[in-house]
């Protein structure tokens, strides 16, 4: 499922529209993930996970920066995300199923904040983009 030129353009255009709020939405996506899928909290025993937590906000910004990097490197996600993949796989040992849970909550967050943009075609493009990001993140599992 390769991203078509139209799908890439749609994802890039939306990301431009998100502007400096990507961190806010990634943080909300994390909060939704912890609430809807409590098993994901197992990776953050050292965090204060209450809504509004500064630690979750800081982590949300890290996730946002990684996604923004991914949008800028749609032609070679495995290379662009290699260091992050190594970190999540070898050091943090995150079960890849959790990437899908966060990806889903990010879609929910974007649907909630950008209803005018969340057409079925955009939904499909974002889902495909996130699937590629997740594949690239899990690549270090070999």
């Amino acid at each position: 499922m390769v991203l078509s030129a139209a799908e890439r353009a749609a994802v890039r255009a939306l990301w431009t529209k998100l502007g400096s709020n990507v961190g806010v939405y990634a943080t909300e996506a994390l909060e939704r993930t912890f609430l809807a899928f409590p098993t994901t909290k197992t990776y953050f025993p050292h965090f204060d996970l209450t809504p509004g937590s500064a630690q979750v906000k800081a982590h949300g910004q890290k996730v946002a920066d990684a996604l923004t990097r991914a949008v800028a490197h749609l032609d070679d996600l495995p290379t662009a995300l290699w260091a992050l993949s190594d970190l999540h796989v070898r050091q943090l040992r995150v079960d890849p199923v959790n990437f899908k849970l966060l990806g889903h909550c990010l879609l929910v967050t974007l649907a909630r904040h950008y209803p005018g943009d969340f057409s079925p075609a955009m939904h499909a493009s974002l889902e495909k983009f996130l699937s590629h990001v997740i594949l690239a993140l899990a690549i270090s599992y070999g």
């Binding site: 909300e28 909060e31 939704r32 609430l35 809807a36 899928f37 809504p51 889903h104 909550c105 879609l107 929910v108 967050t109 649907a111 909630r112 904040h113 209803p115 969340f118 057409s119 079925p120 075609a121 939904h123 499909a124 889902e127």
Partner: protein, 147 residues
């Protein structure tokens, strides 16, 4: 994660009376075919599925989408016994339709996205968490009679 009384109250409040929902929610099952194109294999006889617009405008798919959401809402009225409520549908999807149960999970997630899209601010993290339990329960109930 069983759906309890709080989840029932929240989800029924949002979904009560599908006639009151706008088409985007009522036809959310159609989005499944756009976002996860392999699901189209179950609807080969429904006509033109060649693009997102074709799918969302296809009257047969729309009618089926309404049927799916009505079944979902009806099932929610028996939230304390989802396995019982969806037993016959589970057998149908296994024995006659041969649908991979993973697709029930995908449909649940599409419905959650569409609810966020429709309800916006109301669909806060707590409401989403309640709904995730409900759609997981429905997906599990639909897969329960598989053998």
């Amino acid at each position: 994660m069983d759906a309890g009384q709080v989840e029932k109250a929240q989800s029924l409040e949002l979904l009560t009376g599908t006639d009151s929902l706008c088409p985007s929610v009522l036809f959310s099952p159609l989005r499944l075919l756009v976002v996860y194109p392999w699901t189209q294999r179950f609807f080969q006889s429904f006509g033109d599925l060649s693009s997102a617009d074709a799918i969302m405008g296809n009257s047969k798919v729309k009618a089926h989408g309404k049927k799916v959401l009505n079944s979902f809402s009806d099932g929610l009225k028996n939230i304390d016994d989802l396995k019982g409520a969806f037993a016959k549908l589970s057998e149908l999807h296994c024995d006659k339709l041969h649908v991979d149960p993973e697709n029930f999970r995908l449909l649940g997630n599409v419905l959650v996205c569409v609810l966020a899209h429709h309800f916006g601010h109301e669909f806060n993290p707590q409401v989403q968490a309640a709904f995730q339990k409900v759609v997981a329960g429905v997906a599990s109930a639909l897969a329960h009679r598989y053998h």
